[in-house]
């Protein structure tokens, strides 16, 4: 992958809160035009990574977004980067019309026409007070504001948290159909991995502050294989060092990293693991006794 055109470049990214290190030297790049899913457990370091990338927190190592140091040049960076870190963060004292007036004056790349277009077909009215809107409507409004900004990088941190399935589906559909093009890059974190799998071009798994996977989706399919092993092949499958194994409903499921598919096909049925299966496989901690007794 070329590093010349990388939109985001992080090298040895570290963040510590007092004496506890949260991010342990992350190295990654995000290329233009990609849709990247940053997936991890609660507390894995997703939001901290995004905050570093958006200039909301300082960190050790180096991070560059669109050639800028985000922490030193956050305001300038926000001309080309849009983000939703919390869908409940719109100023509640305003009316929808006042919010559009304000963003139109403040953000040089905001298009009121586009924002109005995104709100067509919703129940959101121009004179409605934001504090009176439902959670789903606030999310729709926030997304309309963000999508009406002609940004090169859009960062969404749990954008559909707390929303119902109907709205979540509509949210992602709209994002793909109305916003994404080859010039725009999307970085998204969510717990609902299955819902975004279809749209991802790149996948990053973060676990306890370490990046355990950073790969284009097509390479994930080539690299990882899921095997439903026959009963007489279980020992042979184990001998090939699976990254994950599980017995469920009478099936013996194994996930392998970089093992020859032809070799695995002799042991049972092989498939490409879904992102959620891979997530479960790679997110297992070596030591399951994390935390402390209370």
């Amino acid at each position: 992958m070329s590093t010349q055109t990388a939109l985001v470049r992080a090298q040895d990214l570290r963040k510590r809160f007092k004496k506890t290190e949260i991010l342990h030297g992350l190295n990654f790049e995000i290329q233009p035009g990609r849709i990247v899913g940053l997936i991890g457990h609660n507390g894995a370091g997703k939001t901290t990574t995004l905050n570093a990338l958006l200039g909301l927190t300082d960190c050790e190592g180096s991070i560059s977004v669109l050639g800028k140091d985000p922490y030193a040049e956050r305001a300038a960076l926000m001309n080309d980067v849009a983000f939703i870190s919390d869908v409940a963060s719109l100023p509640r004292f305003m009316r929808v019309r006042e919010l559009f007036d304000l963003v139109e004056e403040i953000h040089p790349k905001f298009s009121r026409e586009k924002a109005n277009g995104f709100l067509q077909g919703t129940d959101i009215r121009a004179n409605a007070k934001i504090k009176n809107l439902s959670k789903g409507m606030v999310a729709q409004l926030h997304l309309a504001v963000v999508m009406a900004i002609d940004a090169r990088l859009l960062v969404l941190d749990e954008p559909t948290l707390g929303l119902d399935i109907t709205y979540r589906k509509r949210f992602y559909k709209r994002l793909l159909e109305d916003y994404m093009n080859e010039d725009r890059t999307l970085l998204i974190t969510t717990h609902q991995v299955d819902e975004i799998e279809f749209m991802l071009s790149d996948l990053m798994f973060i676990r306890d502050g370490y990046l355990v996977l950073d790969s284009p989706m097509d390479e994930v399919g080539e690299r990882y294989t899921q095997l439903n092993a026959r009963n007489d092949s279980i020992d042979a499958a184990k001998a090939l060092n699976p990254v994950y194994q599980e017995a469920k409903f009478g099936q013996n499921i194994f996930i392998f990293d970089g093992v020859d598919k032809d070799q695995l096909a002799e042991l049972g049925d092989i498939t490409i693991p879904t992102v959620s299966d891979l997530f479960v496989a790679l997110m297992q901690r070596d030591n399951e006794t994390q935390g402390e007794a209370i």
Partner: protein
Amino acid sequence: MKPWLALVKREFLEHRGAFLYAPAVILAVVSAVVTIGIVTNDPDFQESVTNLPGSVQFFEAALVATIFLWCVYLVIALLFYFSDAFHADRRNNALLFWKSMPKTDLEILGSKVVSGYTVFPLAIGFWMLATSVVLYIVAHLIGAMTILYTAPNPLEFLNSVFQIGVAAIVYMVIALLWYAPIFGWAAFLGTLFKRWSIPLFFVIPAVAVLIERVINIRDLDYQSKILEFIMFRVEMAGEEPSNFDPEVWIMQDKTASAPELISYALSQVDWMHTGIGIILLGGFVYLASEYRRRLIEA
């Protein structure tokens, strides 16, 4: 310029309650009470009216008194505004939204200071003007009830409002500049301690005075330098509007003159301390913006 106007407008929308609605309620209630008092012809009230020698001077004295009260209201409201506005984004969870805009934290906080020094005093100025109209109506009401008092004619009314209004603008500007470090201190505490800023606004200086006292415990003629300085900053140096005496004003043989009032006010300003205060305000706002820059959580 447009983004700044938008940010100032945002501040006005968020905090208009204290500068638009509350004064409206106060003016309405006071007007109603005064009108009822006059109409019901309170004997004490009539007695006080019969002792009035001037007509325009009486109106001007009342106008100056109400303008002074509005100035006090403005300073108190601004104190609460500065202590609240610098953390309002965190309280209502909008901090991350504003951080997603291409504006630095210093610009965002700077717009709050600009609002505190422009639109909010203008809003109170509007209520001062409204009060002058109410006073004029009251003067006519009194004039209709007693032959011993004649309300100013429209030209006298306009002249008085203009002369006193212009002087009031200058006094207000001087007062707001003089109190700049106090507003800055409240804003800085608001950024750090959110809703605890108002109690701490008083507690921190009190503790400093206490420590000073303990350090100088052997000094029997102890006088707190810190307290002296605080009192110096709280009471405006030189001219003290609280020295305004309505009786003296009423008895004088001339009406208000803006040039006289303004030149007197300007001659009383301690410009060096005013300048230091403005620099302190800038320093507090800068420190608050640096704190906010490092802040993510609400």
